[in-house]
Amino acid sequence: MTPSAAHAFRHRHLLAIADLSAPDIEFLLARAEAAIAVSRQINKKKAVLQGRTQINLFFEASTRTQSSFELAGKRLGADVMNMSVGSSSVKKGETLIDTAMTLNAMQPDLLVVRHHAAGAVELLAQKVGCSVINAGDGAHEHPSQALLDALTIRRRKGRVGGLAVAICGDILNSRVARSNILLLNALGARVRVIAPSTLLPAGIERLGVEVFRNMDEGLAGVDVVMMLRLQRERMAGALVPSVREYFRYFGLDAARLARAKPDALVMHPGPMNRGVEIASEVADGPQSVIEEQVEMGVAVRMAVIEALIGEGRNPTDG
């Protein structure tokens, strides 16, 4: 057993990377490494969570994150139920807390929650008796995404510490960026953010990142390029004038990628806007690990779910 695997994970919920220590992160990554093998077997089902109930409660539509959590729970043997906003009573004016209390009464062991408001998942976690995983809350955090990104980087590069990682695009509205900045800093990477100033939140330079407004300069010599999705609504909000202009200055194409190290990884949390933030030649190119991120996502989520509600876990811990 590696030292990190011996570390006790004393958290009841996974709400934010900000709550985790470096040993916590190492522990989850080590467990995730082990979980990769499960998904690569012909029989992908373990029974460790047999009899446990996981409810995916998504107030915001998501295909990949929800299915990744669903698959992770099922591969561990849990019963998984999906509840999305369209089919719930949230649309009938029921508050978040009322919805949470209703689900709580059904005695689940785990709630996986995505909500459009920052802090909403934490608020819900305060009111329920089971473990809660934050699957994205507004522009706050998306911890499992940052963990799967770190796992992908570590498997490819052998380490995270010491690497130069550039996070590019809509930092302002991105929970993925916030979680990644925290996690990469915790593991000792050097983090850069690259974006037009309109897409950078106030005080970003004090989050332990180097800020670039010019993509060519920001990408120089980096080991990892993380692209973020640009929502098309940003054009209406006068944050960027047009897709054409955005791609010209902040899109990732082969020429621009050449600024990074020759073996730099290209990552994207998905879903991609091809031709907006990333060119297909790069998204589908040899340096892209975008599909691998999806695979690592299932492994990381299996690790997290098992760490929270697996054998030997008392739901009242910590």
């Binding site: 508050t95 920052a118 507004g138 522009a139 706050h140 929970r175 939140p201």
Partner: protein
């Protein structure tokens, strides 16, 4: 009872209207102060007088809170005029200006009359109605300011809103001037603050919450101040929160003497860090700013740039506060903790006691033409007896207000109201 004379003897009287900050005794007859005896000399006791021993205590003119939201009419589950008045009495507030942000909006003489009758029949402190500047807060048609003033309105305001139309504001200011009505405004640029829920800065970035820049307050404030100078009207900037706002006010003063300003006790006591992890009771409008802004607000009160301190009492129920931060309503209750929170600034050496009393009592009475704010002979006996050192902890169970959304829950205060008197009658007494 009220007919018997009352002597409040042996206390320390702080009454800036008479330049008193020292030992003094008061004689109260028929609900009014009939004599003030300075120094330690015995005021004498008329036959049958009731004596209140104030030795070791402070006696202050009753506080006048110029910005109080009440839920009546329309949201009585949050606060009624009666419940707000009891909360006021518990906090040493003997009179408050009630905001017109009710349902319906107070924009008609009949509604002013209705509020005054309700207050007369149910309130234990003085309640002064304020009225909307535009009908239904629509931002276009002026309310009947003359008739409203005659009906008893003491101030015109758009409540939580900012008047968007420059011309409407200019005309409102001009028209209100003829009737001697102060126009009090909060300034938030709705475009610059669109979507924002807390102060823009590192704390908001950490929390992933959209920020409200300081300029959202300062830009419309500067516009208002220019129009106030143009019209020469009595304009009151109701709730400042930034250092730049104080600077804007200072320079506007040079042009128009009729400009005054207020700040909420929250913006003198708290800052954005208090939001912690999405605590909605700290979601206010304007938002809690950085510590530098809080300090600038305290300095502006000290140097006279800001005239008055308000509670900005704004009762909200669980239906509007037990929500994700970005979806919750703004506002906090504050009547009961107004004096105690202000005393923190006194104990901390940030403001003198006499300056606090000026800002909490004398100046609001002067600006809005209200009775009170003084305990000189002949004035109504609206006063507070307080122990400035009595320690206490704010607990939800003790809150008198119908809503419990206080940002001071669990706060440790030194100094508490022992007795509150309105027109010579005790309306609150700490057991």
């Amino acid at each position: 009872m009220a007919e018997r004379p009352i002597v409040i003897g042996g206390g320390h009287l702080v009454d800036p209207s008479q330049g008193i900050d020292g030992p003094a005794s008061l004689l109260i007859e028929a609900g009014r102060v009939s004599a003030v005896h300075r120094g330690g000399d015995d005021p004498g006791r008329p036959d049958g007088a009731v004596c209140i021993d104030a030795r070791g205590r402070h006696v202050l003119p009753g506080l006048i809170d110029a910005r109080v939201h009440v839920g009546e009419p329309g949201a009585e589950h949050r606060e009624t005029i009666a419940s707000a008045s009891r909360a006021a009495a518990a906090g040493g507030v003997t009179g408050f200006v009630m905001m017109p942000d009710t349902d319906p909006v107070i924009d008609d003489a009949a509604l002013v009359d209705y509020v005054r009758r309700l207050a007369r029949d149910s309130a234990v402190v003085n309640v002064y109605p304020s009225v909307a500047v535009t009908k239904g807060f629509g931002g276009e048609a002026l309310t009947e300011l003359g008739l409203l003033k005659e009906a008893g309105a003491v101030m015109a305001t758009e409540g939580r809103r900012t008047l968007r139309n420059n011309l409407t504001l200019r005309r409102a200011l001009t028209y209100a001037r003829d009737f001697g009505l102060v126009v009090a405004m909060e300034t938030h640029d709705p475009d610059l603050s669109a979507g924002g829920v807390m102060n823009e800065g590192l704390t908001a970035t950490h929390l992933g919450l959209p920020g409200i820049p300081r300029e959202a307050e300062v830009i419309p404030l500067e516009r208002d101040l220019r129009l106030a100078a143009l019209t020469g009207s009595a304009y009151h900037a109701a709730k400042l929160s930034t250092a730049a706002s104080a600077a804007a006010l200072k320079s506007a003063r040079a042009e128009s003497a009729a400009v005054t300003a207020g700040v909420s006790i929250n913006h003198l006591s708290l800052n954005e860090i208090d939001v912690g992890r999405y605590r909605t009771f700290f979601r206010l409008s304007p938002p809690l700013r950085a510590e530098e802004d809080r300090q600038a607000m305290v300095a502006a009160v000290a140097d006279g740039t800001i005239d008055i301190i308000v509670s900005s009492h704004d009762p909200q129920d669980v239906d509007t506060k037990r929500l994700p931060f970005a979806e919750a309503a703004d506002g906090a209750i504050g009547l009961e903790t107004l004096l105690a929170a202000a005393l923190r600034l006194y104990h901390g050496g940030e403001l003198s006691l006499s300056r606090l009393v000026e800002c909490l009592s004398k100046r609001p009475a002067e600006i809005f033409g209200l009775p009170g704010g003084t305990l000189r002979a002949g004035a109504a006996a609206d006063l507070v007896v307080a122990d400035l050192d009595l320690p206490w902890v704010v607990s939800e169970a003790d809150i008198v207000s119908r809503s419990k959304n206080t940002p001071f829950e669990g706060a440790r205060f030194s100094g508490r109201v022992l007795q509150t008197m309105v027109a010579g009658s005790i309306v609150h007494s700490l057991e």
